[in-house]
């Protein structure tokens, strides 16, 4: 049983809101949004030093979602935290919206960095962490990479850079959901053992169940307890987790669906939320 019951409730709320947001549209990056829900719940449910009433607060912790296509899950989280009204979620991807498919720091209150061209968030997150270190700020910088994203060379440039400059207030995650757009990661571009790779590059690396809230909380606490190195937390996840339709679709990076196709998945997610509230 998970100890952090409130965070579980928050995670299920994020999942349900994200599904409503995407269902309204009829398509989207469902798989990679669902797989980071628990992480977002931990980060925004208390881990990150933030102030939703002042999204530009200079000393805040920051999150760079380098897998920018997971924007809809982040937007649902931000709406639940009060950065903007929940009704805004239904404007996702519509002309004139402040919620574009990929994260945009200039449009969405609470989004700290613009992403969408994979690999680039690695470097901008490092820049934020380096800048904060220079300012002698104790703020943490969090970074979420996709596993497919790790095909990008820029990721590995950053992988060398962050330990070289001893960025110990950079805590990164790879959403290791084992799928990318064209199929299974190992089939598209075999990347070997991610723990070995990041360890070899000089990161304090752990691999945990990315849907286990207690494990995420502990891994972040452990990361904060060490110094001199950045931390990489490999989140072993299921792409589409908690959305039956996505879980049963392969690959599920981006899917199209009719309202009646997604409805049973939303009902199940809502039931999971109710169960979490009662637990």
């Amino acid at each position: 049983m998970e100890k952090n019951k409130q965070l579980r409730v928050f995670a299920e709320e994020i999942r349900v809101e994200t599904l409503h947001e995407l269902a309204h549209l009829g398509f989207g990056h469902v798989g990679g949004a669902m797989s980071i829900v628990e992480l977002l719940a931990v980060l925004y449910g208390g881990e990150m030093k933030i102030n939703p009433a002042d999204p530009q607060w200079e000393d805040r912790d920051r999150l760079v979602v380098s897998k920018g296509h997971a924007g809809p899950a982040v937007y649902a989280t931000l709406a639940l935290k009060g950065y903007f009204p929940k009704e805004m979620l239904l404007t996702l991807n519509q002309g004139g919206t402040n919620l574009p498919s990929h994260c945009d720091r200039t449009k969405t209150p609470g989004i700290d960095m613009t992403t969408g061209s994979l690999g680039q968030g690695m470097s901008t997150a490092i820049g934020v962490a380096l800048g904060n270190k220079l300012k002698k700020s104790d703020a943490y910088t969090y970074l979420i990479l996709g596993d497919g994203e790790c095909n990008e060379g820029q990721v590995w440039e950053g992988a060398m850079f962050a330990p070289h400059f001893k960025l110990d207030h950079l805590i990164a995650f790879v959403d290791y959901n084992k799928q990318q757009l064209d199929g299974a990661c190992d089939d598209v571009m075999y990347m070997g053992d991610m723990v070995d790779k990041w360890t070899a590059f000089g990161w304090n690396t752990v691999k945990i169940n990315g849907h286990d809230i207690d494990a995420i909380v502990k891994a972040i606490a452990d990361a904060k307890a060490q110094s001199g190195k950045p931390t990489m937390i490999i989140l072993d996840t299921v792409k589409g987790n908690g959305c039956e339709l996505a879980e049963n679709t392969f690959p599920c990076h981006h899917i199209n669906f009719k309202p009646e196709q997604i409805a049973p998945s939303i009902e199940k997610a809502e039931a999971a939320l109710e169960a979490a509230r009662k637990a």
């Binding site: 720091r105 613009t114 901008t124 220079l134 060398m160 850079f161």
Partner: protein, 320 residues
Amino acid sequence: MYKVKSTFEKETVEMRKAYTETLMELAETNDKICLLDADLVGSSGVKPFFKAYPERSFDCGIQESNMIGVAAGMSSVGFVPFVHSFGPFASRRVADQIFLSCAYAKLNVKILGSDPGVTAAYNGGTHMPFEDMGILNSIPGMTLIEPTDTVQLRSIIKTIANEYGVHYMRMGRKLACGVFEEGSEFEIGKAAVLREGTDVCLVGSGIMVEVCLKAAEELAKEGISATVLNTFTWKPMDEEALVKYSKQCGAFVTAENHNVVGGLGSIVASALAKNAPAPVEMVGIYDTFGEVGTEAFLRERFDLTPAAVVAAAKRAIARK
């Protein structure tokens, strides 16, 4: 305000030295200015800055893409990063990072691409950017600059350090031809008038300014009166000045150490076509790659010479 020298000679201070000195002067009072280089600290002349401000100096290794992103991230927490690599690696190699992490994200990064065009000389075609400005010109909101001498360079650096946005500057590292009097100041987007004439307007920046000035002298000997306009800002282009000289001269020659496709010629011709059409002849690189050799050889090889500008001026005047 700027003042043009009466005679034009090679300067005694290298451009890279003026660049470093100016940044060090700014860094004294602005603790947000920092410097990033991609394993070219020894080439770019910034060692004194690295020594004076080690905590604000970062050798990023041979990682241009990462370096641009790191600079963007640093600017998001208030820093003013100046980033350097050789021109091709500070532009075409990192076009997507400049586009998304810097410009699209509306961040504040200053990018120096050194050794533009033929000034790459012995490094050859691989290192000879005839395309840097053209590539970056299509990114919305960018400011593109090519300074002429150390006086203009110092003024521009002081301006862009305090002007929010993404600036790309292409600059030779070595000795330039001195054109402006000490203390001259420049406004981004406002061309400098080096010489007033009525028959043709010669437009150039960087090493081509000296070429235009020499060409104007030659033309004067033949009774042709030439304006020389120094468009050190390619974007935003000073369209007002172009309109003025379209009316005053009625014909133009653009002179650039860059591909005429997407370069200064294209930018000037486009602005004129829209506002005040006049014949434009272009001296520059005609859609070809660079080569290895001395700068003097390459200037001849690619017709970046006063004689080429004189010939182009006559063609432009004949088309009026």
